[in-house]
């Protein structure tokens, strides 16, 4: 191999290695497990260990409340009807969320919205959310075809 080509090769490899390293770091820093509520419960002990989880579900009607500085709500399967004396949990595939993030809640976040909450599962079974993305309720789905970002990363 000629020395010129060797120089190119070395320079290119150096660039690629550096970028691969940055990418690897970035993945470690920002990776997040994307799970449905049943998947979250099924992952058992691991669920508590994971630094960042994204969990998706429908915001239950009337569940959004403010408690102190946090917004608290419950997500569950689509069209879930909460029984009387309802406690969110594994059996009903519902999950109580405490939103402690700094961002304003997105416009699209309200009853029946499909919410994706990023955060981690606490030992008390409450999911501590730091970031919320929401899509409008399903009946509005078609109108959204051209795309919406509800909040930032």
């Amino acid at each position: 191999m000629k020395s010129k080509q060797l120089k190119f090769l070395i320079a290119s490899v150096l660039i690629l290695v550096a970028l691969a390293y940055f990418g690897y770091q970035g993945i470690n820093e920002s990776m997040s497990y994307f799970q449905t509520i049943p998947q979250l419960y099924a992952s058992g002990e691991q669920a508590y260990a994971r630094k960042s989880i994204k969990v998706q579900g429908e915001v239950l009607k009337g569940s959004i409340r403010r408690e102190g500085g946090a917004t608290v709500f419950t997500i569950g399967p689509k069209d879930f009807k909460a029984p009387d004396s309802f406690v969110p949990g594994r059996e009903t595939e519902t999950l109580r969320i405490e939103y402690v993030g700094k961002d304003a809640l997105p416009d699209t976040f309200r009853d029946f919205a499909s919410a994706t909450v990023t955060g981690k599962l606490r030992r008390d079974g409450v999911f501590e959310g730091t970031f919320i993305q929401a899509q409008c309720a399903s009946k509005y789905e078609r109108e959204e075809a051209a795309g919406i970002t509800a909040s930032n990363q």
Binding site: K4, Q5, K7, F8, A11, S12, I15, L16, A18, L19, F22, G23, Q25, G26, I27, E29, S30, M31, S32, Y33, F34, Q35, K54, Q56, K102, D103, A104, L105, P106, D107, T108, R110, T116, Q133, Q135, C136, A137, K139, Y140, E141, R142, E143, E144, A145, A146, G147, I148, T149, A150, S151, N152, Q153
Partner: protein, 676 residues
């Protein structure tokens, strides 16, 4: 009208198919009449698809809600210009819009070259019509915009149903920018079909010189420039409409438009090496195939719901068809490239590592890595799920981690590359060209640091911007000085004439300068700040940075199809009143009462104050979020300069020069010719 549209699509299917067959048989049999007939069919196809899209527009304008696409995306009270933009507001319509642009491009390019490149053009027709055929089939059989609304009883027949009013367009899309942003993106993405068709035609006809590149240079430039501006308009829309204070979030849909652009940028640079040196022939074909594939793939990501995105597109089954189309496209191109390898030999050897060609090579390398990283990050949930069953997403730290260093390195190449000589740059020319700009840039880095630019990447980006900015200004200055001296023109005339005589080179510099400004604006992101002010009352005042703000009023007002809560907040800087900001929180009518924020932005060249009002429950107190976004305006200014540069680069070179018409050769003309 729906029947007319439907009929036009059926006609398009037949005509496009005929155009392919006629062109291919025509070139085999050397039958000029048949080739001409294929050409005419392609133009006829454009008329058919135009008829279809105008029928759809008519259905929107006449509120024909019997068509389910119209019923789902429009309503009686929707303002006129949004009725028109609803044509491409949803999946079926936007795919038809894609088709339409494709057939218009095809007709134009086929007509433009009707008497040229005889061996190549029939193949161009066949490739373009092949793409059109695919899309028309999608309209007719998978995502039909003319489908009538109806209710299907189980086991029973479909009973047609015409609602009295439509569902309305999503409020977030009721924005003037949303009228032009999607068409701009599509005009850009679809544009890659033309150079792609020529590349395939060049392979098929074994005419692998640079004819296909020269013929499509303007198409590629337009495509690239329009896509760049389309992406920026999307960012601008997100910035002023979505209310989270930023303009780019690495969302899959944003990424989908960025990927073809990145490869297009690589292609735009590497073709110069082929034109000038006869090298990188295989590479250029590969790049344009990749750019085109990425634009199809991007359309698919946006439209198929393959990847969960906060862009809530309707999930549908178009993904599989698109994937099959992409596989056929790539496999066909790969076969042709391998089969024609003997025709793709380089005509000269690579130069030194400090040379023009090597700067192009590194430019290409990192642009491709960037595209790959964006693709990897976008597809990560799909890849990880396939690999170990866990759906894992990655976010901004990954995308920025890879792309920010790449972007800064590219900016560096932008300054250095155009001034390096082909083959090998001499040490002397390096000193002459770079000593002064590098010196000034580094010298200004010190005060910048003490002024508070203490973020490594932001500092590098600004220092590099200064360096590149100076090299570009010097190029204009030196060229104009030499010209003014030679022709007796005044300096400013010399600048204009200089530019017009080599539009490609100087237009390129203007584009590069646009990027310098864009980078400056983008660096400001490192210093963005925000605060939340929950339950703030009328009369309350806050201090934020050098600004003071006071809530003056809260109230309610009505728009044409919404009701808004608003707040008036006066903004002072160091005690001086700047503006009254009036953000709103709107509720739109329609089936669903969606609330959206209308932010108020006070923009200056220095910084934006960005105020979000989240509504009030009692009329006297409400929630606010304030963002301080330094230098954002330079992003938009950079975008405008980039657009102007693209237009300059598209102008034909003016042959005669100024007053005395004495041709003047710029001092370093040899070195820097074809800078773009």
């Amino acid at each position: 009208m729906a029947q007319l549209g439907q009929f036009a699509l059926a006609l398009s299917l037949i005509v496009a198919f005929y155009a392919i067959v006629a062109s291919l048989i025509g070139i085999r049999a050397r039958n000029d009449k048949l080739i001409a007939s294929g050409r005419n069919a392609a133009i006829g196809n454009c008329i058919a698809v135009s008829t279809a899209i105008f029928s759809l527009a008519y259905l929107f304008l006449t509120n024909d809600f019997s068509v389910s696409y119209v019923a789902a995306h429009s309503s009686l009270d929707l303002p006129l210009h949004f009725k028109i933009s609803s044509v491409w507001g949803g999946q079926e319509g936007s795919l038809l819009f894609w088709s339409w642009i494709l057939t218009v491009y095809s007709a134009l390019v086929i007509f433009q070259n009707r008497n040229k490149h005889r061996a190549m053009m029939p193949y161009v027709t066949a490739v373009l019509m092949g793409t059109s055929l695919f899309f028309t089939a999608m309209h007719l059989f998978v995502a039909n915009p003319f489908k009538l609304g109806g209710i299907q009883m189980p086991g029973g027949p479909l009973s047609l149903f015409r609602p009295s009013d439509g569902a309305g367009l999503n409020p977030l899309l009721q924005d003037t920018l949303m009228v032009i942003h999607p068409p701009m993106l599509y005009i850009g993405m679809v544009g890659f079909a033309v150079p792609y068709a020529f590349a395939i035609a060049a392979l098929m006809s074994r005419q692998l010189g640079d004819t296909w590149i020269r013929t499509t240079r303007r198409w590629t430039m337009v495509t690239w420039g329009v896509l760049a501006i389309g992406i920026l308009l999307g960012g601008n829309w997100a910035y002023h409409e979505l209310g989270w204070g930023g303009f780019w979030a690495w969302d899959p849909v944003e990424n989908a438009s960025l990927m073809p652009w990145l490869i297009g940028t690589a292609y735009l640079h590497s073709v110069m090496v082929q034109e000038k040196k006869g090298m990188l022939k295989i590479w250029n074909v590969v790049l344009i195939v990749a750019a085109y594939t990425m634009s199809i793939f991007g359309t698919m990501i946006t439209r198929s719901g393959l990847i969960d995105s906060v862009h809530a597109f309707a999930k549908s089954d178009i993904g599989g068809y698109f994937m099959a189309f992409i596989v056929v496209t790539v496999a066909g191109a790969a076969y042709l490239i391998v089969d024609r390898l003997p025709y793709l030999k380089p005509e000269s050897q690579m130069g030194s590592i400090v040379s023009r060609e090597s700067s192009f090579l590194f430019n290409n390398l990192v642009l491709l890595v960037s595209c790959f990283a964006v693709l990897w990050g976008t597809m990560f949930p799909v890849i990880s799920e396939w690999y170990n069953g866990n759906k894992i997403t990655v976010g901004a730290p990954f995308f920025n981690g890879v792309n920010v260093p790449i972007a800064i390195f590219l900016l560096f190449l932008t300054g250095v590359g155009p001034l390096l000589a082909w083959r090998k740059a001499s040490t002397n020319s390096l000193k002459r060209n770079f000593l002064v700009p590098a010196g000034i840039a580094l010298a200004s880095g010190v005060p910048l640091y003490f002024l508070g630019v203490n973020h490594l990447y932001a500092w590098l980006s600004i220092v590099m911007s200064i360096f590149v900015g100076i090299t570009i200004i010097r190029e204009f200055y030196k060229g104009a000085q030499a010209r003014a001296y030679g022709t007796g023109e005044r300096f400013h005339e010399a600048i204009v004439n200089l530019t017009l005589r080599n539009t490609r080179r100087y237009g390129g510099y203007v584009i590069h300068f646009g990027f310098v400004l864009l980078f400056i604006g983008w660096s400001g992101q490192a210093f963005s700040e925000k605060i939340r002010l929950p339950e703030s009352k009328v009369g309350q005042a806050f201090q934020f940075h050098q600004y003071q703000m006071r809530v003056e009023e809260m109230g309610v007002r009505n728009g044409p199809n919404y009701a808004a809560q608003f707040a008036s907040v006066s903004l002072y800087e160091y005690g001086k009143k700047l503006a009254i900001m009036s953000p709103e929180w709107r509720k739109y009518g329609g089936r669903d009462q969606q609330g959206t924020t209308e932010v108020a932005i006070h923009s200056t060249l220095k910084a934006d104050v960005y105020l979000v009002f989240q509504g009030s429950t009692d009329g006297v107190s409400g929630d606010f979020t304030i963002y301080y976004n330094p230098l954002v305006m330079w992003v938009w200014i950079g975008g405008a300069v980039l657009g102007i540069g693209t237009v300059i680069a598209l102008l034909p070179n003016r042959q005669t020069s100024g007053k005395k018409s004495v041709p003047v050769k710029a001092k370093e003309g040899e070195e820097v010719e074809h800078a773009v």
